[in-house]
């Protein structure tokens, strides 16, 4: 059962990443490679807040939310808005942004993971349903499970969400319906940025503040999103949990070295059977 809790916790972190990807994809049809770096920045905010400046958690989160939003806006402004349409150049530029963020963090904090004290609940593991889990892990688990569901409801029930869906389906048609596509674009970067960095402090006790965290999360979050079907928040949750479980159980029963291979294998199998992911929709091609 401890393995199950571990899988769920890791899966919850991936779910946050995947939801961050999805928010941007739904509203602006771009893939932001630098997204998980904001979670990484959030973990460093937690490290600074808890270990250096000793400020209350809420202050750290507040600052992270604002900073994350601002950085998201900056990414959109520098690496997305100026691009020629339809060339997928955003992958190159957001990879560039991602590398710059990681490089700056390495310069400031070095290469080693820094331990961050838990948000609350202390360092004593508790026993839940026969498995052991830390309070911090339980917190992130709840957030990771709830976030995709909330995001899904917001996307399918609110006007902003529906406008985003309309934009992702046909940008021109959305403009003609009076949707401010530009605002949705930068808005989604800001929201996703704030969300990822704001949740970073919750992730920090689990992952530590580590400069390479973004590079790890980007690939796992991506796999989670593709398995679930891009643009689907519910799918992201299922995909993220699937990745978490595959990782945890492969590590436990086969070997740590096979963990990533197994995840890649699952990705291949899902793509072979359902190229558009579990919750993705297949559109007929139009000329």
């Amino acid at each position: 059962m401890t393995t199950v809790w571990g899988a769920l916790t890791v899966g919850a972190v991936y779910a946050i990443v995947a939801v961050g990807f999805n928010i941007v994809i739904i509203s602006s049809a771009t893939f932001n490679f630098a997204q998980p770096q904001l979670i990484m920045l959030g973990t460093f905010a937690a490290y600074l807040g808890a270990a250096q400046f000793h400020v209350p958690l809420l202050v750290t989160i507040g600052i992270s939310l604002v900073l994350g939003g601002v950085i998201g806006l900056l990414i959109e402004r520098t690496a997305i808005r100026l691009l020629p349409p339809g060339a997928h150049a955003e992958l190159v530029t957001t990879v560039g942004v991602s590398v710059i963020i990681a490089g700056l963090v390495v310069l400031a904090f070095g290469n080693n993971p820094l331990s961050v004290p838990p948000v609350f609940g202390g360092e004593r593991a508790m026993t839940l349903l026969g498995g052991r889990i830390l309070p911090a892990e339980l917190t992130i688990l709840c957030i990771g499970l709830a976030l995709p569901l909330v995001a899904d409801i917001l996307t399918t029930r609110t006007l902003v969400g529906l406008s985003s869906l309309a934009t992702s389906e046909d940008k021109t048609a959305a403009v003609l319906r009076g949707i401010n596509v530009g605002r949705l674009g930068w808005g989604s970067y800001a929201v996703a940025g704030a969300l990822c960095m704001g949740l970073g402090p919750f992730v920090a006790p689990e992952t530590y503040a580590y400069s390479a965290l973004g590079d790890i999360l980007v690939l796992k979050g991506f796999v989670a999103m593709v398995i679930g079907g891009q643009g689907s928040h519910r799918g992201a949750l299922i995909g993220a949990l699937a990745v978490g479980f595959v990782e945890a159980f492969t590590a436990r029963y086969i070997g740590v070295n096979y963990q990533n291979v197994a995840v890649f294998g699952v990705l291949l199998i899902v793509l072979m059977i359902r190229p558009h992911g579990l919750f993705g929709e297949r559109l007929e091609r139009a000329v």
Binding site: F31, T78, A79, L82, L83, P84, H88, A89, E90, L91, V92, T93, V95, G96, V97, S98, V99, I100, A102, G103, L104, V106, L107, D215, L219, F222, V223, V226, Q230, N257, Y258, Q259, N260, V261, V263, F264, L267, L268, L271, M272, P275, E284, R285, A286, V287
Partner: protein, 613 residues
């Protein structure tokens, strides 16, 4: 009927003096001089550091040129090159260390293994496109350390593979200087190979793939095969570079093949220009001389790569070599005043030869998109030697019908047959190969090709040639290329745009691009020609020319289906006309009957419009 109509003659290339023809070789001259200088470099005795820099640049550039092929030309951003680089290095290292094989054997094996890895990494790309392919190939790189650890005994695990013996070529042990020649000559050969490939018919077919799967399929190109070709070809130089790298320091370790290497390759490609061959050298040289070589500033190297990627991705769409190229072009324009192409004035006959038409039968076809019944039990017959018109208001289902015939949509019910064969359930490129060529309502012209090359892309599959003959420029390939150019020029002249033959096609005006689409469709020598609004955007004379050409094509045996809003033109051109309204067939018959049909006047022209006399 109107066979052998008069058409404008081919103008000359616009170059008056014969010595200026030498300018054709200007782009080949630069790399040849560069190659000779590189080979002569050791004579100057610049010391081991400079030679090592050149060697590293050469290997680096080989990987980047592969990346350029799959990304810049084919539009498939596959970032697994590092995995292929590693595959080449480890294959070579293990063979040399454990089996003491000859250099030629280990290089060949490394290239082969890299090709296999390229194939595997491309599998997700066959299903996904764009950034999804990039990410899944990225994951392959992430797996490398795990794989090395699993095969600890063979690969040395995370500690790396040490004590790789010096290369042995045909029983002769090579010293560092001789190995310098091995590296530079392999790189020169590799670049020659890629340069020839990129400017060949295959390179242009890759550009078609970049334009999108729909266009590629309409030209009979199997997207599946073409993508695999791109991935495998891109892997070859990476494998070669990996093998060369293994001998360089007699040591390889996983950290040479990590995330930052992926970023460095990508940065070199963007910086040099992704849609270039020699840009790979430029980008690699800049990165090797700059951030990669200075250990003092190593902690800043990530920042530099990142900045290159953002700035390069946003501002330098053609890379630095693109900037240099356009500078050179404007300089040479100033230096050599080319005569402007003379406008087409002389006339000559253009013979297009016979077409083997096949009858098209569309019977009781229905198609529904969600709540919209796009087609409702529509039946149409198009016979060889005739022009069949298809008219109707916007949204009446005309283009849907064509897309069903071409296999882009799956039909709900009914039959579609070409001659004796059913087209239902066949994939678009198979249908295209069966003799169906089409033009698109919105012209789909890949960038970077001139008009002749665009037209010739429809001969790529019909008159296929292998990759090797193309790279080696064998006579069989040259024959096909000559055939391509001859046929393409004839078609352009037949449409009255022969004087634009060597112009960049994608930047032509809309009407001209439509004519180009018709020429490209005809280049497939189709038995069924489907034209989707070819005349919109054309002036009166051009419409007249096009109309004559359509009649000519039908008269020479082809089955022609013409969708058009230009009612007078359809009346004049078509033998048989079908009228669609909201997915239903409301009338059919000869031009006279259609013009006088009250239902047509009511629905399509509006009651108050006078029918043309």
């Amino acid at each position: 009927m109107k066979a052998g109509r008069t058409l404008p003659a081919a103008p000359s290339d616009g170059v008056a003096r014969p010595w200026l023809r030498l300018l054709r070789f200007q782009w080949v001259a630069v790399p040849i001089v560069g190659a000779i200088l590189t080979l002569l470099l050791p004579v100057l005795d610049p010391g081991p550091f400079v030679l090592r820099q050149v060697e590293l640049i050469a290997m680096f550039a080989l990987v980047v040129v592969g990346l350029n092929l799959s990304w810049g030309y084919a539009g498939e951003l596959a970032l697994g090159n590092v995995a292929m680089f590693a595959a080449g290095a480890y294959t070579c290292g293990i063979l040399a260390k454990d089996f003491h094989v000859d250099l030629l054997v280990s290089l060949a094996a490394a290239i082969l293994v890299a090709a296999v890895v390229g194939f595997i990494s491309g599998v997700p790309g066959l299903r996904l496109g764009g950034w999804a392919l990039a990410m899944s190939s990225f994951i392959l790189v992430l797996l490398l350390p795990d794989i090395m650890t699993v095969f600890q005994r063979e690969t040395g695990g995370l500690n790396g593979l040490a004590a790789i013996p010096d290369p042995v070529l045909l029983g002769h042990k090579l010293d560092p200087l001789q190995y310098y020649y091995v590296i530079t000559i392999s790189t020169i050969l590799g670049f020659a190979f890629f340069r020839n490939l990129v400017v060949s018919r295959h390179g242009r077919a890759l550009s078609v793939l970049r334009q999108g799967p729909i266009l590629a399929q309409s030209l009979g190109i199997s997207v599946f095969r073409m993508k695999l070709l791109a991935y495998v070809l891109a892997a070859l130089p990476a494998g070669l570079a990996g093998a060369l790298f293994a001998y360089l320091d007699n040591f390889i370790a996983p950290e040479s093949f990590g995330f930052s290497t992926v970023i460095a390759f990508l940065a070199a490609s963007v910086l040099g220009g992704s849609r270039t061959v020699y840009g790979a050298l430029l980008g690699s040289a800049l990165l090797q001389i700059g951030p990669l070589s200075s250990t003092r500033y190593q902690q800043y190297s990530l920042l530099v790569y990142g900045a290159f990627l953002v700035v390069g991705g946003v501002f330098l769409s053609g890379g630095l070599s693109g900037v240099l190229g356009s500078l050179y072009k404007s300089a040479s324009k100033w230096w050599v005043k080319r005569k402007p192409s003379p406008p087409a004035k002389a006339t000559t006959k253009v013979e297009l030869g016979p077409f083997e038409g096949a009858p098209l039968t569309v019977a009781d076809v229905s198609k529904r998109f969600g709540g919209v019944q796009a087609l409702d039990r529509v039946s149409i017959e198009a016979k060889p030697g005739q022009v069949t018109g298809l008219i109707g208001a916007n949204g009446s289902g005309k283009t849907t019908l064509i897309n069903l015939v071409c296999g882009y949509y799956w039909l709900d019910s009914g039959r579609i047959e070409l001659g004796e064969d059913s087209l239902v359930g066949k994939r678009p490129h198979v249908i295209a190969r069966a003799g169906v060529s089409r033009s698109f309502q919105t012209p789909s012209i890949p960038t970077g090709l001139n008009c002749l090359q665009v037209v010739a892309t429809n001969r790529y599959v019909r008159d296929a040639s292998g990759v090797l003959p193309a790279v080696l420029r064998l006579p069989s390939y040259r024959r096909r290329l000559d055939g391509d150019l001859r046929e393409a020029r004839r078609l352009l002249e037949a449409l009255g745009i022969g004087h634009l033959a060597t112009q960049e096609a994608a930047s032509l005006p809309l009407g001209t691009r439509r004519l180009l689409e018709v020429a490209r469709a005809l280049a497939g020598r189709p038995s069924l020609l489907l034209l989707d609004e070819p005349a919109s955007g054309l002036d009166k004379n051009e419409v007249e020319e096009l109309s004559q050409l359509i009649r000519y094509t039908a008269a020479h045996g082809a089955t022609v289906v013409l969708i058009e809003h230009n009612f007078p033109m359809v009346l004049e051109t078509a033998d048989q006309i079908y009228v669609l309204e909201q997915g239903k067939l409301i009338a059919s018959g000869g031009p006279q009957a259609i013009r006088d049909n009250p239902a047509v006047i009511q629905s399509y022209l509006g009651a108050e419009v006078q029918t043309p006399a």
